[in-house]
């Protein structure tokens, strides 16, 4: 089954306690697409500039990611610089140069219209809603957002949330969106805004999925997947998007959508996030095998499994 992801493709400069890298391929859509590519056919809609060349293109090609929806515009690709010096859990943004991304208007190639799964990475909520409405045949839509849109465009975001099935955000974003510091209560408030399910990413503590009553025809009890305690965190950039890629990718690879599939998807999300942070940028996500992924899935399962 095919997943369409709409979001940023970028060049990043990253500094962490493990070192510094410059001009590496990044962006939410890139991390998502690479992570999901181990499970399903992935199609990308985004925009890049003239500095995006065959070297970057080949990263997508090697994972059979369809880039016909990647618009090549005049100018430079979106650039982001961030550092994790004091806190590996939160990036300090050094600069953001939107460049060609500033005027990004997602255009969906006709060949993409039969996509059955859709992931709206973190972009302006109205653009997310437009894409969702355009993709009338999708079976399941996942969505990300961030504090910027939660604070600046709450009305637009509320409209988008009515159109998505699964919202994937972190603890802070959930509390901010719900104006509520108790996480399970915040989750209920967010679910009341539209999504059938809410995946809250807890970083090194894993993730929890909360369900709206009756959603997907399954019980509303939450489910939690742990994360692996990782000794070597080189670069946390893209962990959340890689999580989303693993989650959506696994869902897309399954015939049915039931509670057990969503539970496993949450584990696979954690698995892909944990791989992403082991190397700078997308390096680790580029070189995985499905065997390595499933081996780590088993480790995650063992991590909390009682006989």
């Amino acid at each position: 089954m095919s997943i369409l992801v709409v979001g940023s493709v970028a060049f990043d400069d990253v500094t962490s306690p493990s070192g510094s890298v410059k001009n590496i391929l990044g962006g939410a859509a890139t991390y998502f697409a690479l992570a999901a590519s181990y499970f399903a056919k992935v199609r990308v809609v985004g925009v890049v500039g003239e500095d995006f060349g065959p070297q970057q293109e080949s990263v997508f090609q090697q994972h059979a990611i369809d880039t016909r929806g990647l618009e090549h515009a005049k100018g430079k690709t979106f650039r982001w610089g961030g550092s994790y010096v004091d806190n590996l859990n939160e990036a300090k943004t050094d600069y953001t140069d939107l460049n060609v991304f500033e005027t990004f208007q997602p255009r969906i190639p006709q060949e993409y219209e039969d996509s059955e799964f859709l992931f709206l990475a973190n972009i302006q909520p109205t653009l997310q809603a437009d894409v969702r409405r355009h993709m009338s045949r999708v079976r399941l839509t996942g969505c990300d957002t961030m504090n910027y849109w939660i604070n600046r465009t709450p009305g637009e975001l509320a409209e988008t949330l009515k159109l998505v099935d699964v919202l994937l955000i972190n603890d802070t974003e959930t509390k901010m969106l719900a104006h509520q510091t108790n996480l399970p209560r915040a989750a209920q408030k967010v679910l009341a805004m539209g999504p059938k399910a809410l995946v809250i990413k807890h970083g090194e503590y894993g993730a929890t999925i909360f369900f709206r009553e009756g959603a997907f025809g399954i019980g509303r009890h939450p489910f939690r997947a742990p994360a692996l305690p990782i000794e070597e965190v080189k670069d946390p950039t893209g962990a959340g998007d890689s999580f989303a890629g693993g989650f959506m990718g696994y869902v897309a690879s399954q015939k049915e959508l039931n509670r057990e599939v969503l539970k496993r998807a949450l584990f696979y999300g954690g698995v892909m996030g944990s791989f992403a942070v082991e190397r700078f940028g997308t390096e680790r996500l580029q070189s995985l095998t499905r065997e390595e992924i499933d081996a780590r899935f088993q480790i995650f399962r063992e991590l909390t499994h009682l006989e």
Copy 2:
């Protein structure tokens, strides 16, 4: 099997978003003893003042907790006031009146000397070490500490850590003790200081147990237990001590000490911690049944269990 706990018995004033209470029974040894009493026979060593009367005594009696080691001294019982106004995860201490606790010297009644399990709640590390050396017949010693001792008496604490089997502390304390911000690496450094196992309590995210190579004759892979997302957190005071009580209590209730027992103990720790925070003070811990405890254990198990 019997567990001896050495630690504080106190009167607390607590303010949280759910309200305020004054003069309620608290203290690490109290929370620990009540939580552990659902699993094993518990004995307490501590000190109280003249304001500790039959009403407080009856709380222990009703759970068949042996208080022959509770010294009654001239003066007032230890008093603590704290509030959780902005942050339910961390208390702001309003005041600490050590009172009779200031000169506390643990005295172990002869009847306690056959205790097979020992829990050293958060007191001065040298006192912990003295008790541990005195109790030569214990099979397993658990230990807590806090930032105050980690920073002020690191040498004394290091001596104590050589004598304990399981150290139960939180994320911040682990990082502080190891001078290391990466949690799994910090865990390895702490294990190198002496304990066979380290239980790191993550609050609402559960807990992880790390093992020293070869400890208890089991593998060194860590194990993680989730916590239940709780909508109603009235008073987080004592959650960590209740966790320790559930953990140690379950271990003491089992014939063997193996990996599966320690895993289940971690779940029972989380269960008791989750009950403790539902009401102010020890109210919820006073009124539980083993059926309620096991029902919540099953919910915790389901929370992360893959078919």
